[in-house]
Structure formats: C-alpha cells, structure tokens
Amino acid sequence: MTRELYMRLFIGLLCGLLLATCGDIEQGQSGVEQISLVNTGRPLVVASNYPLFYFARQIAGDSADAPQIVFPEIPDDPAFWIPSSDQILLLQSADLILLNGAGYESWLDWVTLNRKYLFDTSAGFANNLIELDESLTHQHGPSGEHAHQGVAFTTWLDPSLAKEQADAVANALQRLAPNQTETFRNNLSALQARLDKIDSELADAFAVLGEQPILFSHPVYQYLQRRYGLNGVSLHWEPDVEPGTGAWIEFQKLLRQYPATIMLWEAEPLPVTAARLSQQGVRSVVFQTASNRPDQSDYFEILSNNVKQLSKALN
C-alpha cells in the first residue's frame, strides 16, 4: 500500500515536472497530445509504443535540457495506430522517432516521414526475430505476388530483448545529444538492472510451469514463450468478446491435446469467459503487454503486476 502510494506520488511528481518543463504541450479538443512546433531548443523524440516511451524517458532523465520524449495519444493498440494529420505533423517535426521495428509500425507503410529521423530499436537483433507460422496472406490471381505478414513484434516482452532495445534507445539519444552521454549511460544501466530483475522474477515464476502447457488467448506472447521456454499455444480470443460455440468446441479439442491450466490474457476477460474456462480447469491470468500508456502505474509496475498475477496463479 505504501509502495503504491509512493509510486503514485512519484508519478504525480513526474507529471508535474513534465508539465513544468514541456511548456508547449497542450491537450487538443480531440484529446490528442499536441506539441507546438515552436523551437524549445530541446530535441523532440517521439516513441511508437509505450515501452519505448518509458525507456526513453528513463534514459533521457529530467534535466532541463534533456530531450523531449513524447508518446502520442493512441486510443487502441499502437500496433494498429492510424496517425491523424496532427499526429503526422508531430512525427514530421520530431528529431528522432523511436520505432519498435519487427513490423510493429504498419503505419510506416503509408505515412510520409523523413527516413533519417527513424530509428529501429530492434534492428540489432533482426536475425533473432520470430517468424510467424500462421499468417493469412493473399494474392491476386494464381500467380500473383503474396502480401506477407512477417514476424512477431512484441519484442519487449522478452526482457533480454527489451534490454537491447533500451540500449539502442540510449545510442540514439546519445547521437542526438552527445553532451548528455554520461547521463544516458547511467540511466540506462539503472533501467537494465531493473529489466534483469524482472527477467529473473519471470523466470522464477515460469519455472514452476515446467513442461506444462500454457495457453495464450492471443498470439502476442511469442517472445515471452521463447524466452522462458514455455510450451505455449495461441488462440485468437479477445478479452471483451465471448467465444462462440464453435470456438469452445475447438478449445476443448485443443485442451485435450494441450492440457493447460493457465491462459494468459492481455486484459481482464469477460467474467462469463473466465468462469467457463475455470470450469474446464483453466485459470485466466491477466498478463498485460504494456504496449500502450497505462492510465495509472508505469511499465515496471505493469510487469511487476504480471509477475504477481502469474505467481499467484501458478502457486
């Protein structure tokens, strides 16, 4: 409780500092975070998802001349973000755009940006990305070219890859503000230490599972699965949509093949879904991907909460 209060105070202070230093931020009528294009003298950095935003904020620090780190207001999953014209303007005015890479930013295909300001934080482990086995592509005519789905993109769910992405963020910030290299490096070390801790906690939590199968409500946990050697199977269920009869039949078939006791959800599933799963011996565990900015808490708090939920379910 005390820890929670401290976290809230810390976040409140952070927001206060943010508002104090980023005097140009204003909320538009659409709720989009708008940055005026007045030159503040500080480099402007835009992150394409919340983890990168968090990493960048941690690494950049809070000094008066620290780069301005911005995460646009995205109502849904940032992976399916369609930037508005105001948000495109924000991206075009950025000195650095931190990309998750691995095909995460589908909007890059049709937004006009200056390539030299884009930075792919997963380029360093491009050979280590997970190719998707099941993808639905299409072609025009029997001999037409395919449209490929590609690779899994929730790389940050693997703390070891998240560390590499954080390192990439630090490198990018260093090139932008070389005079603050020492600050960035120190902050990076602290961040990576925390990621190591989370990694260790998740490893301990998943170790209990052993070879036991685990279900994923949606195919977003590939990197988690690989990192901790999980015997996992993905469904295509949404937390806010009750599975139909056919889906339950398929589920039962799957359960016979993979007798899992745990299903990970990105968000709290419908009580009816959770109850029915529970009847079949499968416990629903919310394991948030933290891809978007939380209303409260922060990245590590989400991960800590994930660990807590998991431990609780597995123990």
Partner: protein, 393 residues
C-alpha cells in the same frame, strides 16, 4: 529649325501604316538577335543554376541528357528505371543524402514527381499554404500548377491513365491536395509532388481493397488454401486513399524491386563525392552516376553554337532589311520631290529640307530602338517564364 521636326512628325503621323511597318521591321531587326542572346543566356543561366545545385545524379545507363532533363526539369521521355534496391544500396554507403525520384506519371499535363520529404529541403521549396505531405495519396503542388488548374487545398487531382483498355495497366488515382508551394522560378512550380510510394500505387504495385478474410469478400475470392487467399478480378480496389481506407493499402512483391527514375545524390564533401563516382565508374554497370552541370554544359555548348548561327543568320537578314529600308526611304524621297520643291519655292533652305528628311529617319530609328529596348528589357524580365512555358509545351 524646330518647324522641320514638327513637319517631320506630322508626315509620319499621316503615313501611319508606312511608319509602323518601317518601325516594326527595324524593331524586329534590332530585337531578334538581342532577344535570342538574352533568352539563351538567361535560360542557360537558369538551367545551369539548377544543374549546379544538383551535385550528382544516379540513374540507369543510357542517355545522359535524357536522365538529366527528366530528373531536373521533369521533361522529355522516360529514362529506363532503376530499382529501389539501388537506393537502399547507395544509402547504405553513408556517403551522403540520397533523394529518390519517380517521374513516370502525370496529371492534367503536369508531371507527378514521386519523392521524399528531403526533396523539399534540398530544393529550398516552401509552402505558401496548407501543409506538407503526410501520407500516401496526398499531393503538394507547385505554384504554377495551382494557378493553371485553379486548384487549392482540399481539391483533388487524378493521375492520368496510361492505357484505357488494358485491365492490367495503370489506373487513375485520386489524390488530395494538401499544400501549395511558393513560386520558385523553376520546374518545381509546374509539378505535383507525392510520396514516392504513391507513384508505386499509381503503377499498380500497391493497392487497397476490401479485407479478403472477411465474409463480405466471399465473391472476390478465387480460392483459399493453406493460409493463402487467392483473389479474383472481382475484388474492388480503392481509387483514392483516405484516412478511412488507408489501412487497406498494401504492396505486393518486394519493394526493393520497385522502380525509380533516378536518385539525387548529395554528398557532404568532395571525398564522399569522389568515392561515389568511383563506385559507378565501370562501363559494365547498368547504372550511371553523372554530374548534371557537366551534361548541361555539353548541351549548352551546342546551344551556343546554334545561337551563333542563328544570330549570324539574323544579322544577314538585318542587312537585307536595312537595304530594303534604305530603298523605301529613297523611294519615299522621290515621291516627296514635289513637296520639297514647293517648300523650296516658298522659302525653305536645303538645310531645312535635309532636316525634314532626317527627322523622318530619326523618329523611326529612335522609336524603333526604344521599342526594341523595351521589348528586350521585358524579355529579360520574363525570360524564365517564357522558358518554362516553352518547356511545358
């Protein structure tokens, strides 16, 4: 003797057609060679300035002049395309900034220039109204194009189809105008700028259509096998890109194979430029890297030679015109003998009559010279617009 000037003036005013014809002949005789020189030199300066501001140009091997004229002035036929892979490779060298161009298409007679945002900073183009390109399907148009087509922010332009009856051909794409540029006095004023990927969509390398995985798209599916949906020709494609359907747009094939007309290379220093030139020096390559100003200089050398011949021809014509004018004057004086006789009888001296004749000559020559001078000054003022008008014909 001022009476002689007055009588001379009245004579010319009475014989307006003769006077106008003589003045026109002399004006043209003076104007044409000077105008030729002015037009050629100003045009050369404008062409050269643009070429000088373009350090290096990378394109497919072939006609150097065609590559330069097409890439700098968006004119002439289409040079052979280079692949986007060439751009990726040259960018990977880190030897400068590289700006792709794709100028294959046009709309309402204006070239559609597919490029990146770097192009605008490179050419120093500024927006007069609206905003910069934000996404595919948007266009920013040059000042002259906006005026000619009476188009502004929010209006639409449609790319011209290359074929009407070929169902596999290039289809028109409706593009939204989001910005109008300030006049730059260059070929950019006449162009329509789009994201280079928009030109690939115009070409049919990318498109947008209904989601084939949805039940509503059943009629457009040929077959579905092992995670691959094969669409038939019934799939309806979007003819414009908007925020509502942008997510439906995608490209087929490998983007590295997609075509470009050329790549503008902007090395940061001479060493990088030399390294770049060295990379593409081999004749065996299907690429050429050239210095536009060198190519233009070769063209202009020919132009100046032709100009000299033209001026020589005009000078010969001028001499002939002078001879004819002298003949006309002599005949005129013959016809006026009676008048001079009368004046002499009344009391006019030979000097007076000489002045009368001279006044006619002076008025015509001075008038013609002034007119020719005004025309030349006007030509100098508007040489670039005339050149652009000529280039857009």
């Amino acid at each position: 003797m001022s009476g002689a000037w007055y009588l001379g003036w009245r004579y010319l005013a009475f014989h307006k057609i003769k006077c106008a014809t003589l003045m026109a002949s002399i004006t043209l005789m003076l104007f044409l060679p000077a105008a030729t020189r002015v037009l050629v030199s100003d045009s050369a300066a404008a062409l050269t300035a643009r070429a000088n501001n373009t350090p290096l140009l990378l394109g497919a091997a072939g006609s150097r002049l065609e590559l330069v004229l097409n890439s700098l002035y968006f004119q002439t036929g289409q040079p052979a395309a280079v692949s986007n892979k060439t751009l990726e490779q040259v960018q990977a060298t880190g030897l400068g900034e590289f700006i792709p161009l794709n100028t294959r298409f046009q709309s309402l007679g204006h070239p559609i220039v597919g490029t990146t945002l770097d192009y605008f900073a490179f050419r120093g183009l500024k927006l007069a109204e609206g905003r910069q390109l934000g996404m595919l399907g948007e266009c920013v148009i040059g000042a002259a194009a906006a005026v000619q087509q009476d188009i502004g922010i929010g209006d639409y332009l449609v790319s011209s189809p290359e074929t009407v009856f070929d169902i596999a051909g290039v289809y028109p794409l409706k593009m939204t105008v989001v910005g109008v540029l300030e006049p730059s006095g260059s070929a950019d004023d006449d162009a329509i700028f789009v994201d280079i990927r928009t030109t690939w969509i115009i070409q049919g390398l990318g498109h947008g259509h209904q989601d084939l995985s949805r039940p509503e798209a059943r009629a457009a599916i040929l077959n579905r096998k092992e995670g691959v949906i094969t669409a038939n020709a019934a799939v309806s494609q979007h003819t414009e890109i908007s925020a509502h359907n942008i997510a439906d747009f995608h490209f087929h094939g490998n983007s590295s194979d997609f075509p470009l007309t050329s790549i503008i290379a902007v090395p940061p220093d001479e060493k990088s430029a030399t390294l770049l030139r060295g990379r593409y020096l081999s004749d065996e390559q299907d690429l050429q890297l050239l210095v536009p100003s060198t190519v233009l200089d070769e063209l202009l050398e020919t132009v100046f030679t032709v100009q000299n011949y033209v001026v020589l021809g005009l000078a010969m014509l001028g001499l002939a015109t002078v001879a004819v004018i002298i003949l006309v004057f002599m005949l005129s004086q013959q016809l006026r003998r009676g008048e001079f006789h009368t004046l002499s009888r009344i009391g006019a001296s030979r000097t007076y009559i000489g002045l009368l004749v001279a006044s006619e000559l002076v008025f015509i020559f001075v008038g013609s010279t002034l007119l020719a001078t005004l025309l030349i000054l006007g030509m100098k003022q508007y040489a670039l617009q005339i050149l652009q008008g000529f280039l857009t014909l």
